[in-house]
Symmetry: C2
Subunit: 219 residues, 2 copies
């Protein structure tokens, strides 16, 4: 495809994604998408057979970027520490760092938009979302398993759902950020997830001594 | 209004709510709503001036039920313990109890459906959602403040966002429950929130001794 063709395709996808995050899938008609993208209907249908084909391309692009964040930040965390618990804490911290740079409420998550209209979606689209979330569960879950083997948790917990909790917090924080019009929500909630991991896995004795001093319990 | 009138109004609202949770607001046309409710168009417009008026009635009903759960479970928790930390833990446990009874993935949250199409929504509807989430923030936040005053947190934390975390977990868990088709998600995630509160606020010395024994650290 020529360079211009790729640029137009990207322009259509970007317009459709922004519109979907704001108005949902159903209300993002081809007419509204081409108006926003500033392209002709002919150009739209040159690149996409239908709105459904565009939705599929959007979710594939979104999932690929999402998994790149997962693998990229995990690789960075693994290079920054040898200990799986520290890697996990650094991994969450790297997402927190990115979230802290937000100056507007989070625009939303395409997966979540599609799930809220799941009755209208191709099963292929719902499968891509499920597979992507499952990849997070397995990658983060594997790290949690290794952390738990070295640092026994201080409460009996279900480790698989602890891995899912990161996805839960992202999705929930995007919504609360949007409702409350607060750009800080995502970073704050990732902070709490990180705290929970630390309290759950950090060696009981050291932590206790350190934090007891910190909060003035050992005055 | 006659008894029959109220029943029809409720039937329309129930059909519209179920349709919205599955297909979103935009795709829930008056035609599809009356088909699902099994009522005539005349009957629909006798009860509601427009689809927008119905959406407003739905969000008001949803918010009222939501605040009833908040206040009802908080009142029960306050009757079950004198200590604010225990009240908080019981409060989360009561929601967990209800979530554990689910046998199907969570159907979704009307607030979240509307937020995902916020570009189409009346500002009055978005205001109701914001006010409702703010009521959770204040009610749970007040309890957290009292708990923290008696049981200093073991890590420095932002208490307002800790209160919001309950809403974040509900919203995020609804989504993950739906994606992964797993009815256990909500109860499991509430468990993690409760664990976090316990680890954060429970007296360091007692907890440490108990749980060290529990996980076999003091063999």
């Amino acid at each position: 495809m020529a360079r211009d063709g790729t640029a137009t395709r990207t322009k259509i996808m970007d317009a459709a994604e922004a519109l979907t995050l704001d108005h949902g899938f159903s209300a993002s008609s081809v007419d509204r998408i081409i108006e926003r993208a500033g392209v002709t209907k002919g150009s739209f249908f040159y690149h996409f057979d239908s709105k459904a084909a565009l939705a599929r391309a959007l979710v594939e692009r979104y999932a690929a970027a999402d998994l790149e964040h997962l693998e990229g930040n995990m690789a960075r965390a693994e290079a920054l520490s040898r200990d799986p618990l520290q890697q996990l804490i650094i991994f969450v911290g790297l997402f927190r760092e990115a979230a802290e740079a937000l100056t507007e409420p989070y625009p939303g998550c395409l997966f979540s938009s599609y799930i809220h209209e799941s009755g209208l979606m191709d099963s292929a689209i719902l499968d891509i979302i499920q597979v992507t979330i499952d990849r997070w569960r397995k990658r983060v879950g594997d790290k949690i398993d290794r952390a738990a083997a070295l640092h026994p948790p201080r409460l009996p917990v279900d480790l698989a759902s602890l891995a899912d909790m990161l996805t839960v917090i992202f999705e929930g924080a995007f919504i609360v950020s949007k409702v409350m019009k607060d750009p800080r929500t995502v970073a704050q909630q990732l902070d709490h997830y990180r705290n929970y991991l630390e309290l759950l896995f950090a060696p009981a004795d050291t932590r206790t001594d350190d934090t007891r001093r910190e909060v003035g319990l050992d005055a």
